[in-house]
Symmetry: C2
Subunit: 495 residues, 2 copies
């Protein structure tokens, strides 16, 4: 068969698999936004069936024959060859899973999600414990299926960020712990920042509208996306032309909505910027969880928590919400949104202490997968570590180990990409400044420039490069945690 | 293999097909409620892939082997044997479709739906015409695939209501036309009813809340269902434990929202009442489109447009909306909501003229499938018939032949079930009265009694009986259009 015919066949198969995968994503989105409680149990089985079908097709011999045959062709373009290489990698990885496992994992995590919602609502970890325990066993089984050199956790880390493993992550987190503790201790010597005015009541509808406005400012395209309410904000897409962000609104915590919306907006810009013509193929997919997180953190922190951004946008905020803000000077607002203060809630924490939250989760996941602890130990280990690293006494499991959705989805190895993504964001941000793309964000035009730069240098490559390769290509060096520490040092300690 | 093992295998296969079918339903629901416009083209292909997969499984040889083997078993329960019989019927029917056709139909109708939305918005039939033309060709192809004795339309009618065909429908519509014209002409001699107060402005939110309240009154379970906004109201379900109704709200047309919500609520009660343990099997499915419509029309018209219902519920309505209604006596309200007046919009029309709307669509569909006319003739034929039957000059295609979503979905043969369903509703209503289930609806308890009666006599049988069989079983005779005429005569002409 001619190469282009064979490649068309490959694309067709991959795009049909994408259809199934994105159909499942619609079901997941609905599950977390609109689905009535009674729909939960059928939804679990519907999702399980879709993931089983996707798995069958991902591991079908006929796909392998096409991939195998295309690997030898010399008349593929570089992009086509890259797609084939990555699809072959995925094929081999998928082959390691069996259908029974895939169905079991999908069913268990759908059920676990429902129980997590209930457990969190009722502040009763026991309601979630046995599902979580089952998920951990499944994740250990998954690590065995995938294979690893040193630690079962390696297999799961690699799954989120190709090439990641414990030894590297341990080193990063060790370096971070030292640097961050130093910075954190120095910040604690500074005068206490007043941020009480951020907790003023702002009605839900007004917050909602401001969130829409900020997404539009960032360049989120509502023609190919939308925003909804969910208990735990997330971004999901069904192709690059249908990207959904979600947010939650607390009427007494405006900034929680604001920065979580910007965070999800960063994820969404990436998805909307992926090449549409590579739908279903690796080059149409994001590079890694770390790179994805670099996009959300770049917008949330480096750009939208900078002084120059608020020099530009604070007047707009004040005009929307005069009552709580008209008497607050810009400088005070800027300090308040950047206040460093230990909190028990990861998503409400500042740029500095945030990484202690990640560290705690990273250590717990590693201990769970080493079987040093089990699900039932999580609340106590969690609470001990919050005391140790952040001096926080956790008041309830709902505000403690039940605060994050991730484990209920069966996501282990995800959290560390938050810190790695922040490091990459700091590294990208430095390039944006050094290359004079947008030295300071002082207008809508600067934002457009940043988005175009990201699109040109990052979005359009899809999965062609790994995290490190992308970092090197864009910034001249591999991912380096020191950029994050330097950024925090400059922001908080150098006047 | 033991019968129960084989039956389990059958159930497992059918339930997985149901998972795929309901996943597609979630995508459809989303497409008509929340999907951003940019998502349309990928959504079409995602739906097409799912319908292709469902079709593959519906027509898989391994399913046939199980069905064939189970048909001979004498140790099945009656219900099990009925499921096997109906699944075998479905299998043979599905076998008549080929994968190419299924994909083509799904893709075309997804695209057509988007173009219909646009065409209607811009009042430009041309934007929809070529898709519609393509759909009609596909429907003719479908009729050929399915086979028919006399008329291609028979195949499509039978698809909505097993056993239905043109000769029977022509006879019904002829009888109806005569009876209805007589009734309509007599009504037109009566004094003109004032219904101006029904068009008073009622804010969207308040209408929304009243809609929720009425659904609750009917017994719609929000634990296993929800309500959303859609351009064209519909009900869809993803199993009997997740049933979604949609509504549209015009702030100056409260009754449109109210009765369309009740209509969809009737559909939804049926879906929520189907036996949960028959998920994915014929006995867990509705009997026919006609029976489905009997449920929506029963609640919308026979129950909720009766005087006794409003004797009970009008005080509640007035207390919710005192400004427009406090000075309107019950009798005037009752007359206004039952006002007979020719309208150009089917969904806004009264119980009498409604069936002229159906008749017009029935005649156009039949003519299209006889190739007497083609898509481009629809606007003129439409407008001529509205003038002929209803004396209405259609002011625009948006308010004319573009008003209904059905054709854009590729639904031909659907409309006539609206009239047949109304006939069945009248027939059921008579039984409800004669059996003293709820002679007059004067309290919430009466409503509960009706719902229980429907559940016991109709819902729980799923697809076990055809429309006629169900009518006979419940009311003692086959579906008979005279019950509708008698009901209308009694309501409008006998004082």
């Amino acid at each position: 068969m001619l190469t282009n015919e064979l490649y068309d066949l490959y694309r067709q198969k991959m795009q049909q698999i994408a259809d199934i995968k994105y159909a499942a994503a619609v079901l997941q989105w609905d599950q977390e936004t609109y689905m009535p409680a009674g729909g939960a149990s059928l939804r679990s089985r519907q999702l399980a069936t879709l993931s089983e079908i996707a798995h069958e097709r991902n591991t079908d011999d006929s796909l392998w024959k096409i991939l195998d045959s295309l690997s030898d062709r010399s008349d593929l373009t570089n992009e086509e060859a890259k797609n084939i290489e990555l699809s072959a990698y995925d094929y081999h990885k998928q082959k390691k899973y069996n259908t029974r496992f895939v169905r079991k994992l999908s069913e268990t995590s759908s059920r676990a999600f429902q129980h997590w919602v209930e457990a969190r609502k009722k502040n009763d970890f026991k309601l979630f414990e046995s599902d979580l325990d089952e998920l951990i066993q499944l994740k250990l089984e998954e690590a065995d299926l995938l294979g690893y050199e040193n630690h079962p956790y390696d297999a799961l880390l690699n799954d989120h960020d190709r090439g990641a493993h414990c030894i590297q992550n341990d080193r990063i987190f060790e370096g971070l712990k030292t640097g961050l503790t130093r910075i954190y201790n120095l910040i604690r010597e500074q005068p206490v920042v007043d941020d009480g005015f951020l907790k003023k009541h702002i009605p839900k509808d007004q917050q909602w509208n401001f969130g829409v406005q900020v997404l539009k400012l960032m360049g989120f395209d509502f023609q190919t996306g939308r925003k909804d309410i969910a208990a735990h904000p997330f971004t999901i897409n069904f192709g690059s032309t249908d990207v959904r962000v979600t947010t939650r609104i607390d009427e007494n915590d405006f900034c929680n909505m604001l920065f979580s919306t910007i965070h999800e907006g960063g994820h969404a810009l990436y998805e909307q910027g992926l090449p549409e013509n590579e739908y279903g193929l690796p080059l149409g997919e994001p590079a890694s969880f770390t790179v994805h997180e670099s996009q959300s953190r770049l917008w949330e922190n480096n750009i939208c928590k900078s002084l120059s951004f608020w020099e530009f946008y604070y007047p707009e905020l004040v005009s929307c919400f005069p009552a709580p803000f008209h008497h607050i000077p810009l400088e005070s607002f800027y300090k308040a949104i950047n206040k460093v203060e230990a909190s028990g809630i990861r998503t409400e924490s500042d740029e500095v202490t945030y990484h202690f939250h990640v560290l705690i989760r990273y250590e717990i996941e590693k201990a769970l997968l080493s079987k040093e602890i089990s699900a039932r130990d999580i609340p106590s280990v969690w609470n001990e570590n919050y005391l140790k690293y952040l001096g926080i006494r956790v008041d309830s499991d709902a505000n403690g180990c039940l605060q994050d959705v991730h484990w209920s989805h069966g996501s282990f190895g995800y959290f560390s990409t938050y810190t790695l993504g922040s490091a990459m964001a700091a590294q990208l941000h430095q390039s944006i400044i050094q290359e004079n793309i947008a030295k300071y964000v002082i207008s809508t035009e600067e934002i457009v420039k940043i988005r175009f730069w990201l699109r040109k240098n990052l979005f359009i490559f899809g999965r062609a490069y790994t995290t490190d390769q992308l970092c090197k290509k864009i910034t001249g060096e591999n991912l380096n945690i020191n950029h994050l520490l330097n950024y925090l040092e400059k922001k908080y300690l150098i006047k």
